[in-house]
């Protein structure tokens, strides 16, 4: 089966490399208007985001983004057939090679960049020429009406997709070096009452990866194609190859061609036109010489562009358009600016009272709802809820001496309101106070994934005097256990495996050998056990756990209960109302001012 037939059989998965939102949206609109059930674009390679919003019809959806092709999940990777490379000339080669290394069975692609070096183009030809269908470098890509729009080809707004008849499959193939003229020809075919079998813009560079010969072979082998229209320019010798193919009967379908560039004759010297190849180096590369060669081989090659367009009407293929497509759904779409889901289902309020009695809400209903909101799904296991309940209870407050509580109280005493005082406390949370859970989680994940002995881990992590978060306490030490750690650690007995917890404990063994205060602290314990519980009881993968840590989920486990503690300290200060707090002078260490001494 030829590549074109495979495309018409539905093999249309596109992986986009780089970003050009308008082009991507035009592909999705083309898919939608063609009546496809799902978008052909399966994802975008972009380093700085996880998803990008696009329209599918009128509805918005999130298209996933990945840092590199190898990171696509299997269900998406299995659909990938084409690369749409929108990178600049500096990155096009490297990213194209990486794509085809990841997807060796891909059918082809398009390189959009204008200034891909010749050496890179010839290298790509060496690797993929003849086996893959790759449009470019430069140009606007490949179009198989109704089935595949790979690039800006045919235009990027819905009106163009409709007027160019891009969603109706016909029998005229369009080939052009120039991207803009590809579109002009597509419109010309539509104006002549015909529809396309396929269209390709091979690009105006000196070494197009899919050569003119490749495309003519494709058109010859394609049962749907009955005729071909071609736009070429002065410069290069490709048209002689077409002529040769026609003479040798390797291409036998009707061909209408326009070779632009007689204007070159008006200049004193040969001029370099817009496309890299468009420069006459030898006499036989002139527009006139190439036209004659094509005519001689049996092609129709009119002198003027209007004549060229008129010749389309005589090409084989149906004249009538049988379907009209409505682009109405795609007009005046309004983009949302934030993505969200419903955190709480407002439609289904629970029953609190049944028959004048309290309805049983179940133990830990608030904690379960909190976890569901944070994780985006209900916790499956009672262990998860119970552990969260336990750590919430233990983290509620740690007395008035800790810095967050102090700030809350001082702010309350200054006469400020609840929210300001709470904020003063919350804003104190950071690497030295309360913010260690998240970093501890990252440390244990790193340790488990590296699989090195704890001693090595400690050595590399503490280089330059750095601390391991989750380790160490000012008061508790070996022989004087932190009772909270002891209580929480019991949860390990409910798990089959607890690699993070085990690792944290083995780190503790190493650190306490140096100093008895370097014990696994409550932050480190919460982090380790939460990782193990999410993994075993909720089925989280290492990658998903890393995402949670990146989003600071583990810090939320402290922020939520401690907010209650701060508010409690605020309430107490308001109840006592001792007036403005001022630090007694004798508690300040005042350095002597040298000027006053003189």
């Amino acid at each position: 089966m030829t590549i074109l037939e495979r495309i018409r059989n539905g093999e249309d998965g596109i992986l986009v490399i780089g970003n050009h939102a308008k082009i991507v949206q035009s592909i999705l609109d083309f898919d939608y208007l063609s009546g496809k059930e799902r978008p052909s674009v399966v994802g975008i390679i972009a380093g700085n985001r996880r998803a990008q919003k696009f329209f599918w019809g009128r509805e918005e959806f999130l298209l996933p983004c990945f840092a590199k092709p190898a990171l696509l999940p299997v269900e998406l990777a299995s659909r990938v057939r084409f690369m749409l490379n929108l990178q600049s000339g500096r990155r096009a080669f490297e990213t194209a090679v990486s794509f085809f290394e990841t997807f060796p069975k891909a059918l082809g692609g398009h390189l959009f960049a204008e200034n891909v070096p010749e050496r890179h183009a010839t290298e790509l030809i060496k690797r993929y020429g003849g086996t893959k269908l790759i449009a470019g470098p430069s140009g606007v890509g490949l179009l198989v009406p109704k089935f595949l729009k790979l690039g800006a080809i045919g235009g990027i707004d819905a009106v163009q997709i409709s007027e160019g008849r891009l969603t109706g499959a016909g029998s005229v193939a369009v080939v052009s070096t120039s991207g803009g003229m590809t579109n002009e020809l597509i419109h010309g075919v539509a104006r002549a009452g015909k529809e396309l079998s396929f269209a390709i813009s091979i690009g105006g560079d000196r070494f197009p990866i899919a050569s003119l010969t490749d495309v003519l072979t494709l058109a010859q082998e394609d049962p749907a194609t009955k005729a071909l229209v071609y736009f070429g320019e002065l410069g290069g010798e490709d048209e002689y190859e077409i002529a040769a193919m026609m003479k040798e009967k390797k291409f036998t379908k009707p061909l209408v061609a326009y070779i632009a560039g007689v204007i070159d004759e008006a200049f004193d010297e040969h001029m370099q036109f817009g496309h890299a190849k468009a420069l006459v180096a030898r006499q036989d590369e002139s527009a006139r010489a190439k036209r004659s060669a094509l005519r001689e081989a049996g092609a129709e090659a009119p002198d003027t562009f209007p004549e060229f367009l008129r010749a389309f009407t005589n090409l084989p293929g149906k004249e009538k358009r049988d379907t009209t497509i409505s682009i109405e759904p795609l007009m005046n779409r309004e983009k949302s600016i934030l993505s969200t889901r419903e955190i709480i289902d407002l439609e289904h309020a629970p029953t609190f009272i049944r028959g004048k009695k309290l309805a049983p809400a179940g133990a830990g209903a608030f904690v379960r709802a909190t976890l569901a909101a944070l994780l985006g799904k209900e916790p499956r296991s009672p262990v998860t809820s119970a552990f969260t309940e336990a750590l919430f209870t233990l983290s509620l407050d740690h007395g008035g001496a800790v810095s967050g509580a102090v700030n809350t109280m001082i702010t309350a005493r200054a006469g400020k309101d609840l929210v300001s005082s709470l904020a003063a406390g919350l804003l104190t949370i950071g690497p030295r106070f309360g913010g260690a859970v998240n970093d501890a989680a990252k440390a244990w994940q790193k340790g488990v994934s590296e699989g090195k002995p704890a001693s090595e881990f400690v050595e590399s992590e503490t280089k330059g005097g750095k601390l391991i978060l989750g380790i160490g306490h000012l008061k508790y030490r070996v022989g004087l256990d932190d009772p909270r750690v002891k209580a929480l650690s019991e949860f390990a007995s409910l798990l089959k495996k607890h690699p993070h917890y085990d690792f944290a404990r083995s780190v503790e063994k190493v650190t306490t050998a140096k100093n008895g205060n370097l014990i696994l602290n409550v932050d480190g314990t919460i982090a380790a056990l939460m990782l193990d519980i999410l993994s075993e009881c909720e089925g989280y993968s290492e990658a998903e756990l890393a995402e949670l840590a990146d989003a600071e989920f583990f810090n939320a486990l402290f922020v939520i209960p401690r907010s209650v503690g701060f508010i409690a300290h605020f309430m107490e200060q308001k109840r006592n109302d001792e007036g403005l707090f001022r630090l007694p002078e004798n508690l300040l260490f005042v350095r002597k001012d040298k000027k006053k001494d003189r």
């Binding site: 990027i156 707004d157 163009q160 991207g179 003229m181 579109n183 002009e184 007689v262 204007i263 468009a278």
Partner: protein
Amino acid sequence: MPRVKLTEYEAKRLIIGDAYRGVSLRADAKTKIPAGKYVVKVDEGVKRRMKQGLVALNVAPADIGKTTAPWKKKGWTRFIAEPMVPHEEKDERYLSLERVREGLRMLYAREGGIEIETHPEKVERFSIANSADIARIAKTTGLPEPFLAHLVEIFDKDFFSFLEINPLIVNGERATPLDAAVLVDSAGAYFARGAWSEDDIVGGKAKHAAEERVAALQATTPASLKLSVVNPDGSLFFLLSGGGGSIVIADEAELAGVGSELGNYGEYSGGPTREETYLYAKEVLGLMLASKAKKKALVIAGGVANFTDIKSTFAGIIDALSEKADALRKANVKVFVRRGGPNEREGLAHMKEFLEREKLLGSIAGSEAVITEAVDEAIDFVKSAAV
């Protein structure tokens, strides 16, 4: 992107390396030159320098100034002085390398100094894909293998597209390029990592201040902005878009017999912003107002764009037209438009409303019309006698 030519000095410096004894001379700089006899040449990529008298042999350092003085008067600014290399004619060879679709193509002739186009029978062709090819070719031609391997390495590393050494002096294991020309791939500048730069490229220099300003603008945008002044007193001025579409429209003028009436040629494409389009259009309008032609038309035309936004690029053109509307009206200029693409309807509607209000409208059409319609009507307008 296009192939561009390096100065002979830079070409040889890259090929020969530290052993190269040539000196680059600029019209505006004094250079100290060691004693000896020199060949002095104009180094601006001109062909057939010998015939044009742009080469002087056996020049002593003290006489170099005298030698180049008449060349400077003619406007040449770059020269090269190289120690004379005494050799026998029998040691002269022809060698060229070109990047082709399949890899590298080498042409070789045992006689140096010949015009290969006129002596195809003396030329041997080779295809180079790997080091085995190099060894085989060295054996067949008698060229020193290390020299050939070095050439191929430099050719790839420094993103050459074409290299011609004619003649190449071969004496046993020694190979000395006497005259060398190199075309580099301008798209490879970034990857060649400073091996050559813009300053080493000859020719193609802007002849007109407007061309220079557009080239400077081009250097700062991913869009494509090109301008060449053709006939400063032409009657047809163009704001064309698209590499291919612009040629089609200019062709139409040539076919109608008014090719010599073209004031400018060029294109804007690849999605320029409103501001970039404004700056570009301003240059074309400047040229147009300066033209002494009696009847002038502005053609704003191009194909049906794939992704260039018609509304915003037309807004840029209107910005430029508004500044000069009075002057354009006074000069009886009419504007002819044909353009299609994203946001075509809005763009055309704004343009039409503006041109009507300013009494500058010749005709206006969108993607329903043939691409050449605007230029055809502009030609009719400038050809018609009555003003």
